[in-house]
Amino acid sequence: MKSESNAMAGAAVSALFDDELEPQTAQVALAAVAEALSERETWRTYACIGDALRGEPRPEADLTAGVMARLTAEPVVLAPRALAGRPARQPWLALAASLAGVAVVGWLALAGKPPESPLAGRLPTGSPPAATLAAQDAVPPAPTLAAAAPAAIEADMSEYLLAHQAQAPTLSLDQSTKQIRTVAMRVVQP
């Protein structure tokens, strides 16, 4: 009875060696081979028979024993392994994050806009956008100067406003926009 079951187990190992077992049977046979020294020796002997029949040379050293000895001597890595069934990222989260970002930027741009300055209407209509922005940030004395000044004085005032716009109490978003336009204005002016 025992020899019969041994023969069945041996036949399973032989078929497993040839990759000819059904997956479920293979799991059981594989566990037996991996866990039992006698089955591993059988596996090795079968490999040796196949090599000999095909005329393949065998390595001088026992490579398997050498590899396994090195693996046994290696320190155990205690780092947790990555989760196999890690859920995929949900795409709607990215969309929601994008919409939230747009909403925040929009709110900063619109809610932080300062009230219209009286100086804005007095500056020359053909002046570049930077002048308008600069005028919005003008300090209280500016309208008086602008009202009486000719075009040359207005230009000087614009430079004055531009030079001091960094001190203007505006939101950071507006300020960054001003800086960009200031650079453009300086390039255009001779």
């Binding site: 023969a7 041996g10 036949a11 032989s14 078929a15 497993l16 040839d18 990759d19 000819e20 077992l21 059904e22 997956p23 293979a26 799991q27 594989l30 566990a31 081979v33 991996a34 866990e35 020294l37 591993r40 020796e41 059988t42 596996w43 090795r44 002997t45 079968y46 490999a47 040796c48 028979i49 196949g50 090599d51 000999a52 029949l53 095909r54 005329g55 393949e56 040379p57 065998r58 390595p59 001088e60 050293a61 026992d62 490579l63 398997t64 024993a65 050498g66 590899v67 396994m68 000895a69 090195r70 693996l71 046994t72 392994r81 990555a82």
Partner: protein, 199 residues
């Protein structure tokens, strides 16, 4: 179940912490990988060291193996890279490394280089094993001998052998097993069992 699926079962066991299952993979592929490495590293002893190193690297990288390619294809790349690194480190001339491609992984036929580097002990052992196996094969009943030859030498599947021999697959399985056991009974005294017990 094909080779790929069978290997994946072994890989999964290794990934679950069964180190012995990796020994089965080493036993299964060491000669194939050794032949590959031997084409690049001429010295037989050094080729064996490189092969061993490749297996150790494969074991370390195995947690990242997801089965997108066959295990041997993956192992083959590790073997080639390990041999290349070894050649660079040792400033040796690389033998047709650029010509070796993945396509070669399944069909490297030449073992001439390996044989050139064989030591007398190895030659003697190989001859003894070969003679013992041949004698055992000669002593087998024809059905058993044919079944095992068709499997090991011609590489036929059980289904193909069943067609050739006009018998059920179960009979093929039984014949191959009985043939192997008969040959193994003669071969075991010759094999070094002491070293096997280390894994």
């Amino acid at each position: 179940m094909g080779e790929r699926e069978a290997d994946l079962l072994l890989v999964e066991r290794v990934q679950a912490g069964d180190q012995q299952a990796f020994g089965l993979l080493v036993e299964k592929y060491q000669r194939r990988l050794l032949r590959l490495v031997q084409r690049m590293v001429r010295d037989a002893a050094e080729a064996e060291d490189v092969t061993q190193e490749a297996f150790v690297k494969a074991y370390r990288a195995l947690p990242n193996f997801r089965g997108e390619s066959a295990f041997y294809t993956w192992l083959y790349r590790i073997g080639v890279n390990t041999a290349k690194n070894w050649l660079v480190a040792n400033s040796r001339r690389m033998l047709t490394v650029s010509e070796i491609t993945d396509a070669d992984s399944e069909g490297i036929e030449d073992s001439v280089l390996l044989r050139d580097e064989e030591t007398p002990d190895r030659v003697l052992m190989s001859r003894q094993i070969g003679a013992t196996v041949n004698a055992a094969m000669e002593a087998l009943p024809p059905d058993l001998r044919t079944a095992l030859s068709l499997r090991e030498i011609d590489g036929l599947s059980y289904e193909e052998i069943a067609q050739v021999m006009d018998c059920p697959i179960g009979t093929v399985r039984s014949r191959i097993f009985r043939a192997r056991e008969a040959v193994a009974a003669r071969l075991r005294p010759l094999l070094d069992t002491g070293s096997q017990k280390r894994w």
